[in-house]
């Protein structure tokens, strides 16, 4: 071959080689561009799913499918961390149809850090690439992988910050060498998915906060009602079992809160929650309604029989002493229970259990009562009464009657006691029938305010009445609840100012019990009231529990001797007590007023003992203001009449 020809052939070969190289470079660039494009597409798909997915599961599913498609891996699966940190299958797969055995082997697993491929990812907080899964015999799913012909596996974490919250794994029948580009890309996918988990967690936290009690972590009213509604609808579908609602209220909890402080109260409530948790069965719902009220919903009970048993268990665990600051003390609880009827509403059932609990309190606390129709009827009457009472002041249904307090020496009417009447539907309701309810519901505060206002208005009217020679003072009863009202001082001062009533014409009657709960606070309020110019009378004197040492500090100007003593004056022991009370009162500079004088004999005895004033049917029944005004005008004739009918003093 000639040199020229050889050179030409070499040149041609060179050119061909150069062309091949150019093509190879171009192919590499094309391939890289393609792969980059595909990676971006995958990331975009996952990012969009992360932004738009309604749930973590949706986002995971999208990521699994997109990744499997992108890398042509045959199997993809997602794990999520359970509350205890272990990885459990989400049941979300791509390609599981072909790998049945591997799926079964996977879904029964619960993997801690370091266990299996996912556990290794969890421990490493980063991707783990197993070139040949089927050869790593210590892996829990090694056998299944072998059977299914799965070889290379990649696991990578779903990360929230540096916390692994889940693991995605991909497997293929091929043997694939580790690919850093793929691992980098999947790290980004894991971060995107982490955002969804984080968002879901924030949403879950909000839901949890809205449905749970922050102090005890128990379901709150919202969730209890929801659970109860579900239980009722299950009952409607399958009426086999019974559902019961327990209402649990601690006995004496308020005292703990008041005397030991709220922090101690909170500790007790947490302890109560923990103890009740021990009593309940796994599927029961225990919740806290408010304060010291807990609810327990028990489903699938075999009739009524277990109710008492559960009630007893609740009472027993709460009867055990509590320990605060190494001091043991006892609380106990009152429990009400109702058996749910499917057609009822959750709120209705809670109200029934509440009513039964209230009954348990009334019957002496520390017991469990079951709701009955009769109890329900009583409850309805009571709530109806409460509703009517609430609107009574505005409807103008309240009236004041007055009963004279008469000077026993002169027969003159020195004062009148304002007594509340409720004119309801044309009939008069006596205080005994509605004052306890008013006390319980707190309605006593607005009603008491009305009484004070009306009494002072009337007092002022009598003061201005020229036909009345000497206007009487007016006695107004103040209950414990009213005295505990922080507004009481202003209420009294305002009412006095509004009617320009002489404060010395106001005698506030309080029982000894007003200072039993909190001596200092009670005395402070009473002292404040006397500084306004009003007098204080100790009502029902001798029936309460006040000690004489309190009496020393009680800023009273009068004692009212309870009618029970007057009614039995013929008894020598009673006589001795009444004598002592009058003498004690006088010794302390107090006026003695006897209540419930009904006979001339009683009057004579009290006159002989030096009792200052008396009140009772013997003188006058409680009557409307205009009738009292007539008595006040006749005052001078009334007095001799009274004295004239009294038998001569003996002695």
């Amino acid at each position: 071959m000639s040199d020229a020809l050889e050179r030409a052939e070499r040149r041609r070969a060179r050119e061909r080689a150069a062309r091949h190289e150019a093509e190879a470079i171009s192919e590499r660039a094309t391939r890289e561009l393609y792969e980059q494009h595909e990676r971006l597409r995958l990331l975009r798909t996952v990012a969009r799913a992360a932004n738009e997915a309604a749930s973590v599961e949706d986002a995971l599913s999208t990521a699994l499918a997109a990744t499997c498609e992108h890398w042509s891996w045959q199997l993809g699966h997602a794990w999520l961390c359970a509350d205890d940190g272990a990885l459990v299958s989400t049941g979300l797969w791509v390609g599981r149809e072909r790998f049945d055995a591997f799926q079964r082997a996977t879904e029964q697993l619960r993997l801690a850090a370091g266990e299996g491929l996912p556990g290794r990812v969890l421990a490493a907080r980063g991707a783990v690439w197993l070139r040949d899964f089927s050869r790593v015999t210590e892996l829990p799913r090694n056998q299944a992988a072998m059977v299914e012909g799965l070889h290379t596996a990649l696991g990578f974490p779903v990360l929230v910050g540096s916390e692994v919250v889940g693991v995605l794994e991909f497997l293929t029948e091929r043997v694939v060498e580790p690919d850093e580009g793929l691992i980098d890309l999947m790290a980004q996918v894991g971060t995107e998915l982490g955002r969804v988990v984080e968002r879901q967690r924030a949403a879950d936290r909000l839901v949890h906060q809205a449905t749970h009690d922050a102090l005890t972590g128990l379901p709150n009213r919202v969730l209890i009602s929801d659970q109860l509604a579900r239980a009722l609808s299950r009952m409607r579908r399958d009426p086999a079992g019974c559902t019961a609602v327990f209402f649990i209220d601690l006995d004496g909890f308020k005292a703990v809160n008041d005397t030991l402080g709220h922090a101690s109260g909170d500790r007790i409530l947490r302890e109560v929650a923990a103890r009740l948790q021990q009593v309940v069965r796994p599927h029961d719902t225990l919740g806290r309604l408010s304060g010291d009220e807990f609810i327990l919903v028990c489903e699938a009970l075999a009739g009524e029989q277990p109710l008492a048993e559960i009630g007893e268990r609740i009472l027993a665990v709460l009867h055990e002493p509590f320990v605060l600051n190494s001091e043991p003390f006892q609380l106990g609880a009152s429990v009400g229970v109702t058996l749910a009827a499917a057609e009822k509403e959750p709120a209705e059932l809670i109200a029934e259990a509440d009513a039964a609990m209230y009954r348990a309190k009334q019957l002496g606390r520390g017991r469990c009562e079951t709701y009955s129709e009769e109890l329900g009827a009583r409850l309805r009457r009571r709530s109806e009464l409460e509703r009517a009472l609430r609107s009574a002041p505005d409807n103008g249904e309240l009236r004041l009657h007055y009963q004279p307090e008469v000077e026993l020496r002169s027969g003159r009417i020195a004062g009148v006691e304002a007594l509340l009447r409720w004119e309801r539907d044309g009939a008069t309701v006596m205080p005994g029938e509605f004052i306890p309810l008013a006390e319980e519901t707190g309605l006593i505060v607005p009603i008491g305010a009305w009484v004070l206002d009306e009494a002072l208005r009337q007092a002022r009217a009598w003061e201005r009445d020229a036909t009345i020679a000497q206007a009487p003072w007016t006695s107004v009863n103040l209950s414990v609840r009213q005295l505990a009202d922080p507004e009481i001082m202003t209420r009294v001062a305002d009412a006095l100012a509004r009617h320009e009533t002489d404060p010395s014409k106001l005698l506030l009657e309080v029982t000894e019990s007003v200072i039993l709960d909190d001596v200092e606070a009670g005395l402070t309020v009473l002292t404040g009231l006397t500084q306004l110019g009003a007098g204080i009378a100790i009502d029902d004197f001798g029936t309460g529990y006040a000690s004489l040492s309190y009496l020393r500090r009680f800023p009273a100007s009068a004692v009212k001797i309870d009618r029970s003593f007057i009614a039995t004056l013929e008894d020598s022991r009673t006589l001795a007590i009444v004598t002592a009370m009058i003498e004690l009162g006088h010794a302390l500079g107090l006026i003695a007023i006897a209540e419930g004088i009904e006979t001339a004999e009683q009057l004579a005895v009290l006159q002989a003992l030096g009792c200052d004033l008396g009140q009772g049917y013997y003188f006058a029944r409680p009557a409307p203001a205009d009738e009292i005004a007539a008595l006040l005008r006749e005052d001078e004739q009334l007095a001799p009449l009274v004295l004239g009918t009294a038998p001569a003093q003996t002695g």
Binding site: E9, R12, R16, E23, E27, T30, Y34, E35, S72, R174
Partner: protein
């Protein structure tokens, strides 16, 4: 020089490049030039371009005439010789496998997707496999190009690559009026 080629009838440039490489290696540059002249094609092919199917048919026709061999034999010979070149260029497709049968089974799922990465828009044939018998495969091939002989050549080449005997029979063939080609393959162990 740029010919408007639609994808549907286009052949990837690499097909021409491989053919050129084999012909030059086996028969010299002059033979390739003579083939180009006889086929009436200009011979400007790069692996990244698309060229008319007709060009390949013309080259095969010219070779068939020059060698007095059936066109299918030319195509089969080409396929068998192209495979080692492909193995040289794309070793990653071959490395994971220890036998020809396993390699062939990855065509649809791995090789063709990879080919599409390199040559966006490439129309790769889809094969259906019956892999129910060990050591055997039945390949269902349907293509307008009717290049079953090329497939046979590649299969034989795969056997050469993995050091196996490959026996091929076509029970159905589009060239014989069937609607598909059914290529029955036996692999020696």
């Amino acid at each position: 020089m740029t010919r408007p080629i639609t994808q549907a009838v286009a052949m990837k440039g690499i097909v021409f490049n491989l053919l050129e490489e084999i012909v030059v290696r086996e028969h010299g540059d002059d033979t390739w030039d003579a083939l180009l002249d006889a086929a009436g094609v200009d011979g400007v092919y790069t692996s990244l371009g698309n060229y008319p199917d007709a060009d390949l048919m013309a080259l095969v026709g010219a070779a068939s005439q020059a060698l007095a061999l059936p066109a299918d034999d030319i195509v089969r010979w080409y396929g068998r010789n192209a495979l080692p070149l492909l193995a040289e260029r794309y070793p990653a497709f071959f490395a994971p496998h220890s036998d020809a049968r396993a390699f062939v089974l990855t065509l649809n799922e791995i090789i063709h997707p990879e080919v599409r990465k390199l040559y966006p828009g490439a129309l790769t044939p889809a094969f259906a496999f019956d892999a129910s018998q060990p050591g055997r495969l039945v390949m269902d091939y349907r293509s307008e190009r009717r290049l079953c002989a090329f497939a046979e050549g590649l299969l034989l080449g795969a056997g050469d690559h993995f050091g196996q005997q490959v026996e091929i029979a076509q029970s159905e063939c589009m060239h014989r009026g069937d609607e598909r080609c059914l290529i029955e393959i036996g692999f020696s162990s």
